[in-house]
Symmetry: D2
Subunit: 333 residues, 4 copies
């Protein structure tokens, strides 16, 4: 059963809010970054990737975010528009902020790392006044991502978006996406993750992310069922907990759990797995699929993206996703 209901007849299916940045992926792979010499530039950032994935799958998608007033910022906005993403909610920083960068290093398919530039970045300058109530109420769903909660004023902008979403019955997806480097400490992170999660309909995260959130409350044991139930007592209808290689488990408010498997693929790198999963999973749920079927779509999308060089530009279209599901080897977990 699909536990989610979406308001009908709105011009947009999904608005994503938060980080817009640049990935600089080393062209030379299987070596440390000290030994790479050229990089290819892609749009990046978890909510950007999810929005791009969503648009590729045919969803009417918009974005609320802030870009730098330079070539990097314009490249991002141009790319979103080329992918049919509505950028009315994308504003330009005028304080001299830069675009966040992620240099990727692929030592082997299993040993990937990222070198981040996150000082004075435009995406975290998104201000509550940049968030328009009228825009949010034009969408069936809103996607938030944890990184946008890392600093003021972006943090407050997300909370304002959540208020508007609640007021206008916009379904909220929360992809936890916890990246320690922009946060002061775990207590700060947990406070805002918990406050935001209280207001979301669907929460997607790893077991470690949920543990971090519960540690603040002195919860000592990891228990998926407890975790999910806690959020059902607020506004959640669906909680997805990822266990890495051991697969994901989704809980619905009716106390049922749902699992899916993975598709075999030639892994180039692990980046982008979570974002591609989320975009196809949301697409499935918004198109009436059962939870486990939506999870399978997520897995299929992830298996495509991790075999390719980029995260954003690698996102599959509906047709590619269908072909892949028909041809790739699927392994139920």
């Amino acid at each position: 059963m699909n536990p989610l209901k979406f308001v009908k007849d709105r011009p947009l299916d999904l608005i994503a809010i938060g980080r817009l940045c640049i990935d600089l992926n080393a062209n030379e792979t299987n070596r440390p970054m000290e030994e790479t010499s050229t990089f290819t530039k892609y749009v990046g950032g978890s909510p950007a990737n999810i929005a791009i994935g969503s648009a590729r799958l045919g969803q009417k998608t918009g974005f609320i975010g802030k870009v730098s007033n330079d070539q990097m910022g314009r490249f991002i906005t141009n790319y979103l528009e080329k992918n049919d993403i509505d950028t009315k909610g994308v504003t330009t920083d005028l304080t001299g902020a830069v675009t966040g960068l992620a240099f990727t290093e692929i030592k082997s398919p299993d040993d990937c790392s990222i070198l981040m530039y996150r000082d004075n970045v435009a995406d975290l300058k998104l201000h509550p006044y940049d968030v328009d109530e009228d825009y949010i109420k034009q969408s069936k769903a809103l996607l938030i991502s944890g990184t946008a909660l890392a600093k003021s004023p972006s943090r407050e902008a997300v909370f304002v978006a959540l208020e508007y979403a609640e007021k206008h019955e916009v379904t909220v997806f929360f992809d936890l996406d916890y990246r320690p480097y922009t946060w002061t400490d775990e207590a700060e992170t947990a406070v805002y993750y918990n406050l935001a999660a209280e207001k979301c309909n669907v929460i997607i995260g790893t077991r470690e992310e949920f543990d971090m959130m519960e540690k603040l409350l002195n919860v000592e044991e990891s228990d998926d069922h407890f975790t999910a139930s806690r959020w059902f007592s607020y506004h959640s209808d669906l909680v997805v907990i990822k266990h890495g290689d051991a697969g994901s488990i989704a809980y619905t408010k009716d106390n049922k759990s749902h699992r899916s498997g993975i598709f075999q693929t030639n892994v180039l790198k692990t980046f982008g797995a979570g974002d591609s999963y989320a975009s196809a999973f949301i697409y499935g749920l918004m198109n009436g699929k059962e939870v486990s079927e939506a999870m399978k779509l997520g897995s299929a999308s992830a298996s495509i993206v991790i075999s390719r060089h980029s995260c954003s530009d690698a996102m599959p279209t509906e047709e590619e996703l269908e072909n892949h599901m028909e041809t790739a080897v699927y392994q139920q977990s």
Copy 2:
């Protein structure tokens, strides 16, 4: 009817959390501060004043806060202890922060102003890790005050305290106490005031403070009934809205409103009116008084404090409060 229930048999009646600072009140009154030459030092800060008022009225009171590692910090802790306030939750800053200062200027009873020192203050360094779940669960009630939400990490410490309070059924009072000088902008303020207010049982503020909170949500008209109802849909049982000279109005969840009047007094200055009101009002509610009766206690306490030189040191004992109610002229609004 008193709409509040308190857990019984706990060692503390009330814990206040937040600002501990120093008031430096000009000894020479009725002139601008340029012309004053001596000052008297008192403990200050809204939650400190309320805690002192509470303890003077015989409530078992504790405090969670942070003081500077100097003579000012030690003066504050000593003063709280002399007033029978439990200071187990008061920690000492070790980063070189100072104690916040408030120099008061009394040009006339109606024209008072404050010159604040709020840079690098110890009280805003209170950290989530300084807030102890076991301590909070020893109290029947928790008082929070808006100023502690103004900056990290104090902001997060308050949210952690609210989580523990909810977990252990500690009744939460929220004295809005909005002081613009420590906040970046109104949107930031409104976001955190709203998030905190959602978790409180009793909210006390001026009409202007509630307006600031509602403006973020594009609410355009001030309407006390709407304001109160909004919070009843979260956790509130009682909302007090102050209208300055026009008196205060309290709403209870049963949709009733309650009013009280004021006691005539010789006004020396207006500082401390709100804190003394809150301390006696809370004392009344915690001791089973009707709402309007508790409001009358609040008014009586305020009329005592505004006739005296300090805020904290002027707080009345039970006996003083009773005497005043018997002797002062009361005027129902």
Copy 3:
């Protein structure tokens, strides 16, 4: 012999540049500040004190500094004007800075300490653009003090003043006045003290202050003669090195050294000794006294100020200074 020459026929004798702040001196002495309850407000800051001392002794004195846009700032400017100090060079901060504070604690005449408020202070916001070449060239001498070098933009403002002084043959006095609390580390301090000292005609400091400056250059032994000679190779004509109770020694470029003694007095506190010494010493030098005679004037002024409650307001007039020299017991060191 007096080694200094001053340009004649300028409207001002001395301009001081730098810190303008407030001293809050405990009225109750011989106890820790935790036990004091009232304070008296005075203008403070080393160059402010020296300027006040200078004006009291009849010198035409001006000031270049920045005050906060509040009652404290106006109090300072008013006080300077009442003391016949020209305040054309005193500008008002418009960024929300506060006036620096120094709470003094007098446990005993030998055990005094200061609690400083130096965050976001107006005096350190003095900007190069606030320093007017035309104003500086109206003075015979300029006094700088180390604290103004502690932070940008005040640091750069002082260097600009030094450029103008050099250009217009204004004699420069440098009172080292090293206060660790506003500096990042000793290396930073030593760099700017050395750069400034290179441009000064008279340098006055304690042995410890000169040691700090030399440590950066890996000078390992304290040697007054070496210290003085080093500065004679730049622009100095006179270097005064203070050895606490062991008295001061002054070196002149002709390789001679000069000493003076102290006047007996009833010490209330030690604050202000250095500033009162400097003001009368400069007054002596600018009025043609021999170096040792100027030093004696400095000692006399110091012995007056340390017997009184304030630093600034205690500065003697010419008449008081003369009387004191006639009546007080002098002890040659």
Copy 4:
């Protein structure tokens, strides 16, 4: 005549101090950066480029700087070592700083721009304690560059290096290299440029850079002869003033001026012209060439580098430089 003397018999010819960063040069040229997609990574930063140029020309070269504790930092140190530059003075930042980045955009040979990442960069964390007196005294010459003066503690580290250089008769070259983006305002810049220039033997800059330095002193007209003379009154023996297409002019203390011309070349981009000029000019002066001959070497090196894709990696060897001087068309200005 070559006005410079160098101490003999030291293990190093030149130590450069300051910025070590990464250039990311767009591989696709003649288009805006919004339309480029790949970048090649090179070591960059003015003193780094000059050091590399110096080493390529056979000078024994060392570096004092700070790199980030990541792949970028290690890439820089490795590259310097591969170019036979001594890196004993290169320390690693441990505070989480990043390597500065310069993304270059080549719209046309005449229209090049740079997008800088200069927040929280490792090179500006160089501390006075990282500068070793014993290391500096092993070199005949020291090269400083203006960017290292932009922020503390790197600013102070440079002044300490200048103190040690003076103490040990190390000849100091100052390449002004003014980049507004790291500075607060022009007054701050001019203060430190002037203080540093006072201590240098050779100063190389554009007319605009010298104007910025003189504006602080209210000098109103640009006059090369005045500019040069001002520095001769401090420690300078040679001042080079660049007038863009109109060529450069060098002044020596004997009041003579020297000019050189340019070599024709196929310009790819203008970046790196100044650094390659400086490295070959210094090489010429340190090898006994006449001033005008050294300037010609500078021009030759510049004409090579601006025809190639990088700045650092394009620096010519002695052999390449000689070949170029024999074959390229030279045009005396």
